[in-house]
Subunit: 430 residues, 2 copies
């Protein structure tokens, strides 16, 4: 792949040599984790292809759009309102931040005590190996955590970075009004960037575009509630990850095609594991591509991950934007209402998340919860205390895993997961 | 002291035995660090007395007020608007959070990767050894960092905790309007707690009360700019710390009395160190009482700390509340304007802090900066990158110290400070 796109990478100012090392490692990692899975749906072909071209064809598409005068906005978070970008004919893409590869570069400047996701993305910009960064005309950050918020200031020295402020008490009237004004300011910024006026009509269309993506992901997610699940946790996670990078319209169509096949599988009782395999719900920090660490460890034990209560999971698609009118204000208010329902741990209090975990555990017939937190992520780390208490009250077993992107602790995590599965088995038999 | 107040402690539901251990340790620590200093101003007598009675007479005062129906509000942060509490005849006091003593208790529940201040305060509430917690009718928290924000949720299970949201982009119009509404909501909360209506007149009086405290602290701070400084860094830090706990009116008078003596000292050329002692500015995280670690290490080297760019330092008193009118709205807006000038690292961007450090370095004729950050405080830790770049650009030597409340790394810090002082000496002689 690299040879084919080397001129493009050069024109983007990337570090070609280092990028080649990354691509080789990723290709091998993907093959060993993904392509060795048994009983995969055929329609995963498309997503395998997307991964194989994630630093190739997709980057070419984005830069072809840029050559036509369109803009690309890079983002990190489900609170970055895609609808506003697409309403101005800009594309929004997720930036690299899921690999340990770039962490040492970041640690030359940043404190080591930050979470791996932050160090990873800053390192990717520093070392010039993320073509999404190099294809972005603007980065949109948000104030969802201290670490990101402060590193965006440093990122802004390397690439124009706009920070959208997210209120942390989501249910106050003043917080929602503030959020509305922040969206208005972001809309003005995007209009200025693109030179395109965001009309109510265009915003309505882009709301539909992104809602359709969410509906397809909901359909996929709901299918995983079947026993046996017709798709592996690794494959579903991959699709959620790709949703941040692919063209939304094409992606939606491909997810729906896959869902047609999965429905067929369900009718025929075809699944990816035994009917009595342990079903696990993962809840916590986002897993940016290519962070497949926990899923690959869990899947190797024979257990099935049936849902992710995560920003690369249910928080991404659980609610739709539902305008109550046709004016720009109605549409922006609908965005505020939708985004303030996403139960990120940046919110205080965040009881909505506990309710969401409880409801997902029921819907997906989960036998247990794996609480996943990235090292030094204070929000998710502290919130685990309340989640743990709520799960204990419901007698739902929970295992907390705190980890980074390195593989050093993988054997230890595997041992802990196996012990957890034994506890669940013991509980089932009791 | 403990014997005298044992009935009071019992009535507050404190853990008497554990509290005795704490008091013994604190007494010894204070004696060895503070009372061994040479050339102390006589008027430090009052502050020595306050420390000796900080868990005694002051707690009795607060509970005598409570017996009269008055309320006590506990707080952690300079963004907690004292003016609003005092306008409703409530007292505001700083809560315990500066000692390692309570950290192990907190770590039984909280992640270890939180900053020591957060673990310390939560541990103090858990183990029942902080009489300020046990005398508070309400705790007012704020959203200045992820760790505090999320731990306040857990604290609220132990003591009523109200969280004031602080916008993180301080200079946007929408952020200031939001802050205004948050202050209105806090005012309503305090009115409900106390049963007292906050009139414009009362708020104006309390603004004056707290402004007078700030003016006295500014006066004290300005005196430290003299060479030699008439007061030690340890003593000045102690006074800033006590400002969170003492009665504001009495405290103001006592600080002014001390300043009279310090002015006399300046006239007579009396100081706490040689005229050519290295002068250091400390900048960074707050040092809650009894966190005297860095100051005692630095002072033992012979260098003088002349200012603290900190919430227990200049951020506490640098600006006054200056209303532009007499209505409640005018007064609340004046609070917004004042508080949004405090350059906490929770703000993004926070260029105001860099300007403040530069200006303080000049005013206090600092030879170097010690950047002080508590472990796992992402805000101050990441912001050190920008501060370091700004100091380098001005050729101002900076040493970054990242530490917690334990004394294990004290010898290492001492060695680093000594090496830093040598660099400064070398630079002076060059």
């Amino acid at each position: 792949m690299s040879e084919k796109y080397v001129e493009m990478y050069k024109s983007l100012g990337m570090n070609i040599e280092k990028h080649n090392i990354l691509l080789d490692a990723l290709g091998q990692f993907y093959s060993s984790i993904y392509l060795t899975q048994k009983s995969r749906p055929k329609k995963m072909d498309y997503f395998d292809f997307v991964v194989s071209e994630i630093h190739g064809l997709r980057i070419k598409e984005l830069n072809d759009l840029r050559a036509q005068g369109k803009k690309v906005v890079g983002a990190f978070c489900v609170y970055a309102p895609e609808e506003i970008a697409y309403a101005a004919e800009a594309s929004m893409v997720g930036l690299c931040g899921g690999a340990d590869f770039s962490v040492p570069d970041a640690e030359a400047i940043l404190p080591r005590s930050l979470c791996p996701l932050i160090k990873s993305f800053y390192g990717f910009k520093l070392n010039g190996t993320c073509p999404y960064f190099e294809s972005s005309d603007l980065v949109v950050g948000e104030t969802t955590c201290d670490g990101k918020k402060k590193v965006y200031e440093l990122l802004n020295d390397l690439i124009p970075t706009y920070v959208l402020e997210i209120p942390h008490k989501p249910d106050t009237q003043q917080g929602k009004e503030f959020w509305f004004k922040e969206l208005e300011a972001f809309k003005a910024k995007i209009e200025q960037l693109t030179g395109n006026k965001i009309t109510a009509e265009k915003l309505k269309d882009s709301i539909e575009l992104i809602n359709n993506k969410r509906k397809a992901l909901q359909r996929l997610s709901d299918l995983r509630a079947n026993s046996p699940s017709p798709i592996s946790g690794l494959d579903a996670l991959l699709i959620y990850q790709i949703s941040f990078n692919d063209d939304p319209k094409r992606f939606t169509a491909k997810v729906n095609e896959l869902c047609d096949e999965l429905e067929e599988r369900v009718r025929n009782g075809v699944g990816v594991a035994d009917k009595d395999a342990t079903r696990l719900l993962v809840s916590g920090c986002p897993m940016a591509i290519p962070n497949w660490k926990l899923h690959s460890i869990v899947q190797a034990t024979g257990a099935t991950i049936v849902a992710e209560e995560s920003c690369v999971g249910t928080r991404l698609f659980s609610d739709l934007v539902e305008p109550k009118g046709d004016s720009i204000d109605d549409l922006l208010w609908a965005l505020v209402e939708k985004y303030s329902k996403i139960p990120c741990a940046c919110f205080t209090p965040n009881d909505r998340r506990i309710k969401s975990i409880q409801s997902l555990a029921k819907q997906f017939k989960a036998d247990g919860i794996i609480y996943y937190t990235l090292q030094n992520c204070h929000d998710y780390n502290v919130e685990s205390v309340k989640v743990d208490r709520a799960m204990k009250a419901q007698d739902l077993p929970m295992l907390k895993i705190e980890t980074d992107y390195t593989m050093g602790d993988a054997p230890q995590i595997q041992t802990r997961v196996e012990a957890f599965l034994e506890i669940i088995q013991g509980k089932k038999q009791a």
